[in-house]
């Protein structure tokens, strides 16, 4: 399996501010993803973090609100911009590993619990 860390583990932020979440993987991975888990809900994919190019966003998520960086094969950041209380969620990053030559096993970080006041 993989060791994935996220910082911060939790934060309480004021409306209108921004927060950058960091995700570090212990080895090089093909793909990294960012998910949102709203209170009492399942996981929703925000975007795929592409190394060396712009992230690919899912429907309903835009770069201006959730800018993502991936400067190398082990690190990515997600910024939640101009926050509102509706952004209060757990944000999780995941890393996708190759298994038997097939890219398809995702492991998850511990999550960042964000509360916006």
């Amino acid at each position: 399996s993989a060791v994935i860390s996220q910082k911060p583990s939790r934060d309480i932020c004021q409306r209108g501010t921004s927060l950058t979440i960091q995700c570090q993987v212990d080895s090089q991975v093909t793909m990294m993803f960012w998910y949102r888990q709203q209170p009492g809900q399942s996981l929703t994919l925000i975007a795929t973090a592409n190394q060396g190019s712009e992230a690919t966003y899912e429907s309903g998520f835009v770069i201006d609100k959730f800018p993502i960086s991936r400067p190398n094969l082990t690190f990515s950041t997600l910024t939640v911009s101009n926050m509102s209380p509706e952004d209060s969620s757990i944000y999780l990053c995941s890393a996708q590993y190759t298994s038997g030559g097939i890219v398809n096993t995702q492991y998850f970080g511990p999550g960042t619990r964000l509360t916006v006041l």
Binding site: M31, S42, L43, L45, G100, P110
Partner: protein, 114 residues
């Protein structure tokens, strides 16, 4: 697009009893199938996965799951539940056609009573 259904939002079982959590998916071909567990305040831990081959898959913590193509199901089982198994369980589906992105079910919250 693929979708995942976990019909049971909450399940309560007695410690030592057997457990089965249901998962049905919608996709034309054989997808990649996963079960993850999330304890309160924690991230997701991979329990097991199915890519191909033997339809009965063994995972960690004594869990197993069986892929049934005819029923589009991938149900999770454990013969004897421990109090520490209380958590939320998510079934997820991925396909190479959609770039191996995962689609998650709504989750099933497992409560274990002593």
């Amino acid at each position: 697009a693929q979708s995942v259904t976990q019909p049971d939002i909450h399940i309560t079982v007695s410690e030592g009893a057997s457990l089965e959590l249901r998962c049905n998916y919608s996709y034309g071909a054989t997808p990649y199938l996963f079960w993850y567990v999330q304890s309160p305040g924690q991230g997701l831990q991979l329990l097991l996965k199915y890519f191909s081959g033997d339809t009965l898959v063994q995972g960690i913590k004594g869990f197993e799951a069986e892929f049934k193509r005819s029923q589009s199901s991938f149900n999770l089982r454990k013969p004897s539940v421990h109090w520490s198994d209380a958590a939320e369980y998510f079934c997820a589906v991925g396909t190479s056609e959609y770039g191996n992105k995962l689609v998650f079910g709504a989750g099933t919250i497992l409560r274990v009573k002593s």
